[in-house]
Symmetry: C2
Subunit: 203 residues, 2 copies
Amino acid sequence: MTTTETIESRRSVKHFDPEHVMPEADLAELIRLTKLAPSSFNMQNYRLVVIRDKARQREIRAAAWDQAHVEEASVLFIMCADLTAHMADPALYWGHAPQAVQDILGPMVKPFYEGKDQLIRDEGIRSSALAGMTLMLAARGMGYDSCPMIGFDAGAVAKIINLPSDHVLSFMIPVGKEAKPAWDRGPRLADEKVVIHEQFPGA
Amino acid sequence: MTTTETIESRRSVKHFDPEHVMPEADLAELIRLTKLAPSSFNMQNYRLVVIRDKARQREIRAAAWDQAHVEEASVLFIMCADLTAHMADPALYWGHAPQAVQDILGPMVKPFYEGKDQLIRDEGIRSSALAGMTLMLAARGMGYDSCPMIGFDAGAVAKIINLPSDHVLSFMIPVGKEAKPAWDRGPRLADEKVVIHEQFPGA
């Protein structure tokens, strides 16, 4: 499937085959591709919580307005982020680079974020979304469907997955085999509404 | 190019051919594909500022640690979001759906967000990142390269593009024709670090 076909055919599917079990090799490939998503300073601050225990999926479904795809999904991904990623030894992220690059970039990471709580949170949300979009398109390319979700009680789900207090929960992505096609695709806003050329009109 | 090849070959390219002009048809196709990204309640709250004026690109480059690709890019996208999207008439987003679905979902949008400033901002950052990742992969599939960037003075860039006070600036994506290959891909953290099975270990 070409990238264009993948983007066009990715839809938010709300009914999955509840009997389908994702082969381990497919899960590993999906994770490998997701990890190729870019992240700020290569911090890879996103965290993927992989849920396949049906009892836990049922528990999360109950915290998500009883939406069936949470339980029916072959794999439920909870997209999170580690808000302390910028504090780690930068060699973890930049150890591969030439020494000159390491010397410039390594010491930049921590001061770029330290003490800037909103920026740190933004980076967690952004990074998990870049990874999550990569995951959804990778899944589509592999013959799976998905559905990004924010309609759930984030506090309740955080409790179920033991989310550490220095992590943020961004959104969920059930992935599975489509049992019922998605609704018709929602209309797209006109380019005039979402595309701004050069600058926003002045006040 | 398959989706897997596109994900594998997308790299953060930092040097573009400064003479390259993106054909209008390519820009239109890139925008069309980007707009297929999912968004919460189909609000399409992301906004794409499309910059091709080299003088403006130079100005933004100066506000971005003098990084050359900001100016060399055929098109510089500034990924923003409208923080008031949930206040609009839901028929704009759901007018296509069966009346029964509209009756349930339409009235949910505004109360889901209203008064929740952090959630509104998160949604802007998340939505612009889902759109931006789609844009980067679509560009790669079309033979272009890109580089997501957060290393710039956001206040200065907001001023240059006249960003309204009820919008948020998320990140920038220069897109163009590669002039120099990207650095070697940064090492990926082990699955043990970024993938959590079922739940985080208890305290």
